[in-house]
Amino acid sequence: MTTLEPQMQNLERTGMPVLEVKNLTKRFGGLVAVNDISFNVLNHEILAVIGPNGAGKSTLFKLIAGAETPTTGTVLLEGQPLTGKPQHVVARLGVVRTFQETTIFKEMTALEHVMIAHHLQSKAGNWGIFAGSPRAKSDEIDFRSSASQILGFLGLGALQSEAARSLPHGHLRALGIAMALAAKPKVLLLDEPFAGMNPDETDRAVQMVRGIRDLGITVVLVEHDMRAVMRLSDRIVAVSFGKKIAEGSPLEIQNDERVIEAYLGKEDDELGV
């Protein structure tokens, strides 16, 4: 399988937006978790969404990935509307998210996690799988080798046959990303991929995210670790209380007064200044 061959010819960051978020709003009763947020994600860029806790970042990701339905607004992938489509359809179209909380299937090994995440690549139907058709068998072989390739790419190669629940936290975060990669996304949404990691683990994870972008995948991430965000992102969108307050390069964001204000009361170095 060619899952992991870098698509160098496409790596030029084109001016074309691959994902367009237009006036997204989500109300939970009286609370406006996401308030009229719009931004574009360009092909092959790494875009970070930052903001204080409770700003609405995870909700924004859920709206884009189809896990929640927006109250108003639309999301377009390469010009096609995603809004209103359920999460598994959005995933098939090419937008896949990871979770802020670490989620795994107990009793499955790391390899089994990534194999089952190849679900969308299945050529055999349910009946073929039950009857053991040749397609089902070749699927199984393809999934296994692709899964093992993805785990190797993310530095989990040696842990393939470990039960996932016995993996340390940093590796579990990577396993979540491995599962998302198995769905062959065009746009990968990472919700706090570095949460709970020590500086060493974060360094490795930053390299990993760059490697994913170099595969030709557009990456949007929510992150609290400002140092990592400033190093990694091409552009940043800052949100506070559900509203977009700034958008720009890391340097522009660092010096943006509204952003600094939103983070007031926090340590200066949270912004990496």
């Binding site: 896949v96 979770f99 795994i104 299937f105 089952i116 679900h119 053991g132 089902a136 039960a163 016995s166």
Partner: protein, 314 residues
Amino acid sequence: MKSSSLKIGLALFLVLVIVPLVFRSSSYSMTVLINAAILGFMSLGVWLTFSIGRINISQGAFGLIGGYITAILASRFGVPFWLCILASGVGAALLGALIGLPILRLRGVYFSMLTLSLTEATRLVALTATGVTGGASGILNIPTPFQGENSYLELYLFAAVLLILGTLAVWRITNTRLGRVFRALQQDEALASSFGVNVSAYRVLAFSLCCGFGGVGGSMLTMFVQSIYPTSFTVTDSTNFMLYCFLGGLGSVFGPALGALVLFLGFQLLAPLGAYQTLAYAAIMILAMLVLPNGLLSLRLPKRTHALEKANVS
């Protein structure tokens, strides 16, 4: 490989040759065996809904539905018995898909309570729709091909083969990617849908298969007793299917058959206690659950469990 096919061969020989040879002359024993086989078959479906993380207390409803389909087709339209069984299975499965689509959004105790009410609601429909079901007086004298002196033996063999084929089918599902998807749903539906699994379609698939097992089982039991009433399957039966799975063991596809055999037989053996039969049965159930929380089949799996735990520790 060789030793396991030998074991399977011996088990089949025991179930299909030895058991009928030993018990064929006792109609009481044959009745118990036929019931246990059919109830085990119906429990297989409930076991499948366990595998997607839903405790299903509606199998009695689909037994009733399958039973009425067979009773009506056979007694009013003279449809041959094998077509009746097929129609009962397919009818129950389709109805299950229709009902499952909305109710499978619920989980935990909410889903269970709803399925329990479904059993009761089905009984009430059967009681009220007198034009179709005959109401409280039921449908009697249902014609079946199982007549004459060998009828018990034929029915037993039929039910046993059905149970074996059903167990094989569920074993197959469990050991392919389908089973892995089901277990993924059991643990985290949001995660499964994030990589593209159509969660609601797979939930409905599992539940609908379950209802199909219920319909076929209901059809078989109806042909066995040649009658059906609104009370042929009640909430107690729905609960029992669930208990058969629990006591047999949720970790193995052989759990439902074993649980049904042991519990149904056990209940019959307690008959001499008269009024205290149900009480004793309940007490033994509670004890069994306390001593063997993972079911009877956990008794023969200690080696494998240890190996697993070791692998997880290292």
